[in-house]
């Protein structure tokens, strides 16, 4: 009987409305007891002045393998996830080849198992070959273990196809993850369309491009009663549309990634390609609307949106550099620094968006510290201040917007299934 006692930590579990300083006993890979007493357990983790949370879940991670292993691999990405405090991540199939077969799904599962870092749930493509024309064999993919469907980062351009996909997925009770973007409006765009893009002479990507597609997707979700998850929301207009749809009872969930609640389009004045992401960093009013959406619950989930790019790809002219920013190793700290420390969200609300809420979107039994649950646990040092240094990332890619920035908060120990996988800066 392997036992681990996590002692004296502030246990915050939004799934149970729990927030108190106590001990947790882990036994044989599961949560055995809350308020357990010290008993000479084989292993003890001292969590004094630490927060003990359910293992964090990331709904949006681009692992880039197969096809672009120069950016990231399943092995390096799952390692980076642990360093960022995540025990579970969701794999986005924007790979080469795209994941639209059973074999593809199984490949990812095998690689993740072999890497033996964090858990990986696979999103498979909605359409054949990710081309957006015909439905992929969704039933087969679900049977192979796909937890949801998406063509990200491509928008589902064909409205009829999305409608059909939402209806079809209903019988499997699986969500469609949609990346809302009207390509005709963002054509050649490099940054948010607004005053800054006007001054810099850079082609813009208007907020309307996201709002129009968000509106369309919400309408279809409502009409079909399908389950929709909106990825990387960045625009105030979209937040408002989601708010109203939820008020009408539409089954939709939405995520915001940390860049969109911490940075605005003025950063592009540096012409630094590490600030080039899709959807783009928008003007401050949009940033504030996203934060407001997180505060009032319109936005259920915080996801990293991790999009690694090998260095040489970003060291190019701005229109040649691909979109993307790494964020597995900084999402927790950005959430703490910009939302919790600034008083926008309390710990429970913030952690909910990284634990139970993503779990519910995926329909999985995770994101909780209930007795009997798998012991996926993230122990957080909430006060430590540290400087982001891309060289220290477990990810081979260094495309971060936060290089040299001081952040607050960091994962200190990460347990997956009761096994300590990451401890004080080291993978185990």
């Amino acid at each position: 009987m392997s036992q681990i006692l996590i002692r004296n930590g502030r246990v915050i579990d939004p799934s149970q409305g729990l927030d108190r300083v106590t001990n947790i006993l882990v036994e044989d890979g599961r949560i055995a007891a809350l308020d357990a007493s010290e008993n000479g357990q084989a292993t003890t983790i001292d969590a004094t002045d630490r927060i003990v949370a359910p293992g964090l879940i990331d709904l949006h991670v681009q692992l880039r393998e197969p096809g672009h292993e120069e950016d990231e691999t399943i092995e390096s990405g799952t390692a980076a996830a642990l360093a960022g405090g995540f025990t579970t991540i969701t794999y986005i199939p924007n790979t080469e080849p795209p994941l639209d077969t059973q074999a593809g799904v199984q490949y990812v599962h095998q690689k993740a198992t072999r890497a033996n870092h964090c858990r990986v749930y696979v999103l498979a493509c909605v359409s054949k070959n990710r081309e957006g024309n015909e439905l992929a064999e969704i039933g087969t993919l679900v049977e192979a273990g796909a937890i949801g469907l998406t063509d990200a980062m491509r928008p589902l351009h064909n409205t009829e196809l999305l409608r059909r996909a939402l209806e079809y997925c209903r019988m499997f009770k699986k969500p469609i993850f949609s990346h809302p973007e009207v390509l005709e409006l963002t054509h050649d765009g490099i940054m948010h369309e607004g005053e800054t893009s006007m001054v810099l002479g850079l082609a813009g990507m208007p907020a309307d491009a996201e709002d129009v597609m968000t509106g369309r997707d919400l309408r279809l979700a409502e009409a079909t009663s399908g389950q929709l998850h909106l990825m990387n929301i960045s625009s105030g207009g979209s937040v408002e549309l989601i708010r109203r749809a939820k008020a009408r009872g539409v089954a939709v969930s939405a995520e915001v990634c940390p860049p969109h609640f911490s940075l605005n389009d003025q950063t592009l004045r540096s012409f630094n390609a590490n600030f080039k992401i899709n959807p783009p960093l928008r003007s401050q009013d949009h940033v504030e609307a996203c934060i407001e959406g997180l505060v009032d619950g319109t936005i259920d989930v915080i996801a990293s949106g991790h999009a690694p790019r090998a260095s040489e790809k970003k060291m190019r002219e701005l229109d040649q550099a691909p979109f993307g920013m790494v964020n597995l190793e900084t999402t927790l700290a950005l959430t703490i620094t910009h939302l919790v420390a600034k008083g926008h969200l309390d710990w429970s609300s913030a952690l909910a968006k990284l634990t139970i809420n993503p779990a519910r979107v995926l329909g999985i039994d995770r994101g909780t510290l209930q007795v009997g649950a798998d012991a996926d646990i993230t122990i957080i040092n909430p006060d430590v201040r540290w400087q982001v240094c891309a060289e220290e990332f477990h990810s081979p890619s260094a495309n971060t917007a936060y290089e040299g920035v001081e952040l607050q908060g960091r994962a200190e120990h990460v347990l997956v299934g009761g096994v300590i996988k990451y401890s004080v800066g080291k993978l185990l």
Binding site: D188, G194, V199, G201, L202, F271, E312, E317, L318, D319
Partner: protein
């Protein structure tokens, strides 16, 4: 003001400003009014010198300036080359099509390779905003932005302003209208920054698809009707409609554009008696401007070209020679 140094007893040397810190000229937005005027003062001195002598100077003897142009250009490129050679520097030409860029070399590697050939200064033109800025962070030599997409073209802005100053003196209180495709014009942006810093009232005028209302928040007047603003304008700068840059047509036809915005004799009647007509080259005769206006008494287009050479000599000498002098003091 300024210190005079001489390289020989008889050779001309302009009076430089006391302080000059910049190694690069990437944009006009970041320059102070004092820095702007300092460049213009040196340029005016070079212009006067060239009016009386064709003798090469040796201010930049032993220095090498390289043009790296990723976009087509004859006049700007030649203007920079001539300016460098008039100052005694050696020049080197590099264009994207006939280079290793077509073999897949990155732009930073290209720049570093050229720099490694003992080049002191790179003049860079590229279709993507921010490219000269990126290069300035990756190489040690000086960089001049000769046009980065729609973003800025600092020496163009400077030569336009110098031309206005020569004819009108102080810019303060003058009304200068920039007409045409403002959205895609680096000439417009550089002019806006330079003119505003020196106190002019700036109007941007063109089709509403190409002239954003947002310019008003930066203190620039926005107008869609050229006829309405003409009686108030002291200077018109007619930007070229750039067919090669646009993704979707922001106006239905060239004819319609000319109908609304071409500067022709009829419009000249609405204009002030002493209005200055300017245009960055090359002009589409009959589109932005009719031949009689382009060649008429109000046009200072050729002055602009002369001033271009003087401005570039000023910028080259400030970035290279004056920098050296400052360091050795």
């Amino acid at each position: 003001m300024g210190t005079e140094t001489t390289t020989s007893d008889t050779e001309f040397m302009p009076t430089f400003p006391d302080q000059w810190q910049r190694r690069h000229l990437l944009d006009l937005e970041s320059l102070s009014a004092e820095e702007l005027q300092a460049i213009l003062n040196v340029a005016e001195q070079f212009k006067q010198y060239m009016g009386r002598s064709r003798e090469k100077l040796s201010l930049l003897k032993g220095r090498t300036c390289a043009n790296i142009f990723f976009e087509d250009s004859t006049r700007t490129r030649n203007s920079f080359s001539l300016a460098a050679r008039r100052l005694g520097a050696d020049t080197v030409e590099f264009s994207a099509s006939s280079s290793s860029v077509s073999k897949g070399e990155t732009i930073i590697d290209t720049a570093k390779t050229i720099e490694a050939m003992n080049v002191d200064l790179l003049v860079v033109r590229h279709r993507t905003p921010g490219t000269p800025h990126m290069l300035s962070q990756n190489v040690d030599c000086s960089i001049i932005n000769a046009g980065d997409g729609p973003h800025e073209h600092p020496t163009q802005g400077l030569l336009d302003i110098l031309t206005i100053q020569q004819h009108r003196g102080d810019l303060a209180g003058l009304t200068v209208a920039l007409v045409g495709d403002i959205a895609h014009s680096r000439t417009a942006r550089s002019n806006i920054w330079g003119l505003k810093k020196l106190g002019a009232h700036v109007i941007v005028c063109g089709p509403s698809t190409l002239v954003s209302q947002n310019w008003e928040t930066l203190g620039v007047e926005v107008a869609y009707s050229l006829d309405d603003i003409l009686p108030r304008c002291d200077v018109l700068n007619l930007l070229r409609i750039q067919f090669e840059r646009q993704y979707t047509r922001p106006f239905p036809s060239v004819r319609e554009y000319a109908l609304l915005y071409a500067m022709n004799q009829e419009r000249m009647r609405l204009a002030k008696d002493d209005i200055l007509i300017m245009a960055p080259g090359p002009i589409n005769r009959g589109v932005e401007i009719t031949p009689d206006v382009a060649d008429g008494p109000h046009s200072v287009i050729l002055d602009q070209v002369h001033n271009g050479l003087a401005v570039r000599m000023a910028v080259l000498s400030l970035l290279l020679h004056q920098q050296e002098t400052n360091h050795s003091v």
